[in-house]
Symmetry: C2
């Protein structure tokens, strides 16, 4: 990892100056949309996405020709409590699988022609057990945020974000509980596949962790530091860097959305440059999407993480941009308008 | 158009011998799915689609490398009654737009790398006005079905089906009403954008047409002949030919699904090799999908026709096939299973 380039206070200062929407590009998109050879509104959500891309790329017409999928991988001290169906060693094994090209996200990136980057975050140094301590120090958290910012490089025009980390639906649930309240049962699901007594134990772990840390000053970044993990912090950094660089973002499932929700809790407009690809089968995800006001593009009952749903959603963004830029106008095509 | 190769009775005979599912390929898919590097079921609907592709391609692993989008265009005598917001000349103008590459479906085919074929069906000879007569003669209907069969050629491994035809949501509504009952209001929507008095008149036209023809022998192909149109008959032919050739099909919106529903009404398993890409904003489509028991893959509020939703859905089929064929197994990747 690079040297820390930010403290959490520097991140807070940065959040006070996020670029806003480019309304001029949005207006140009709306005007062109009204001239294309189709009944007004007939492409539904694809039209909304084309305009959203213009607004957040600050460019008309928008394009999605060089999307990137970034997957951040971290390990969690709380995994030692048996909250996952899989051992913590699987995080590193799956990173090797990503590198070897054998995971779902590799096939999905090929399908949608996205550049895949995998960011391994000190897998041999898991965060602290959130039941007993804060997951990260201030410096660790700030460093991980800065690391995540590196996923945004010149030339990319859309960014799909996801994660890998055994036990991170436990961290996601604790973070969501601390950020938005409710009961542990509202936010805890089977993750990779725990049930019965193990699921009950997972709920108890989440309740204890949230209870321990939610009394902290109700600052979302502080809750990220206490209850999140390295990949959560990196996702926060990537989302912020994408906003600064005018790169629209597609969020993946429960853990990724929980990380993003930290920013939403701090500023309800901080995720305006983000869409959510899919709603996960992990039940807390749907609830989280309601809280941050972001309906997903599709619901395929996926619950894999590793940016799988977000990467598939890049196909929808590509389609939206392609229709908007490539369709003929009524005048160009010599097609009659409404009678 | 070619010489007629079938009568409606020959089509009925063909329907009695449709190939069934390849359960061996389906079992092979289920076995492989259980070995891939992900928690069981974590790819949700993508896993179901991979198995469905195997079953209906009769091949394991299945692939979607050479998909085709076929769009059938026809004109309707009932258009003269002002049931559409657009004049009937737009059908031919849009066919020229397809050929010139300026329509939405052209951009979508490029995005998902599908081969686009447009089938223009005697646009200067619209079908008869269904309020007053049967849309087609037996020979016209059989010839159009045979014509549609030509869309299935060797080498294609998936087929997205759609249509273009001013006034064809009127025909679709009349067909749905005659096939499944209810009231005209259940099946009539704005189509390209009629409202107010024009929408009320469209409802009346649909009610009259269905009333005139539904007393006919309750044979779905006869209702197709009386209430459908050339593109509807061609779609029926393409669906049947795809079944024979083991090519899985993606259906588009309201008009395409209404054509497919003719086959469903005749044999509730006749569409088992078909999925529906999207649910249209045209309200009758959701009702029709309920009747034929096919939940759509996504709901983007699209209502354009021209195979736009079906073509976008090809990206999902590609993703499903790619994950299934390309992912490593736990053994290959050296990833630990559940603890």
């Amino acid at each position: 990892m690079p040297e820390p380039v930010a403290t959490l206070d520097e991140i807070r200062a940065l959040m006070a100056h996020l670029p806003g929407p480019d309304l001029e590009a949005g207006t140009a998109a709306a005007l062109r949309e009204s001239q294309l050879t189709k009944p007004a509104g007939a492409l539904g959500r694809l039209e909304e996405l084309a305009q959203w891309l213009a607004i957040w790329q600050g460019r008309h017409p928008p394009h999605v020709n060089h999307p990137r999928t970034a997957v951040f991988a971290g390990n969690h001290g709380v995994a030692a409590r048996g909250v996952s169906a899989y051992p913590a060693t699987v995080t590193a094994q799956m990173v090797q699988n990503f590198i070897a090209g054998g995971a779902a996200v590799n096939q999905l990136c090929k399908t949608v022609d996205a550049d895949l980057r995998v960011y391994e975050m000190n897998l041999d140094q898991p965060t602290a057990d959130i039941v007993e301590a804060a997951a990260m120090s201030e410096e660790e958290c700030a460093r991980a945020i800065a690391y995540g910012m590196m996923a945004v490089e010149p030339g990319i025009d859309a960014l799909a974000l996801g994660e890998m980390g055994i036990a991170n639906t436990t961290a996601a649930a604790a973070l969501a509980l601390a950020l938005f309240g409710g009961e542990a049962t509202d936010w805890v699901g089977p993750g990779t596949g725990v049930g019965g007594a193990a699921l009950a134990a997972k709920r108890e772990v989440v309740a204890q962790a949230a209870a321990r840390h939610r009394a902290a000053p109700a600052d979302p970044l502080e809750l990220l530091r206490r209850l999140g993990g390295l990949e959560f912090a990196a996702l926060v950094g990537a989302i912020l860097a994408a906003r600064m660089a005018r790169v629209p973002v597609v969020l993946d499932g429960y853990a990724t959305t929980a990380a993003a929700a930290v920013l939403y809790a701090a500023d309800s407009h901080a995720l305006d440059h983000c869409v959510v690809g899919h709603v996960s089968a992990e039940p807390g995800h749907r609830r989280l999407l309601e809280r941050i006001g972001k309906p997903a593009l599709f619901d395929f009952g996926m619950r894999l993480g590793e940016a799988s749903g977000a990467t598939l959603a890049l196909a929808v963004l590509k389609a939206a941009a392609a229709c908007h830029a490539g369709m003929a106008t009524f005048a160009e095509a010599g097609v009659s308008g409404p009678a």
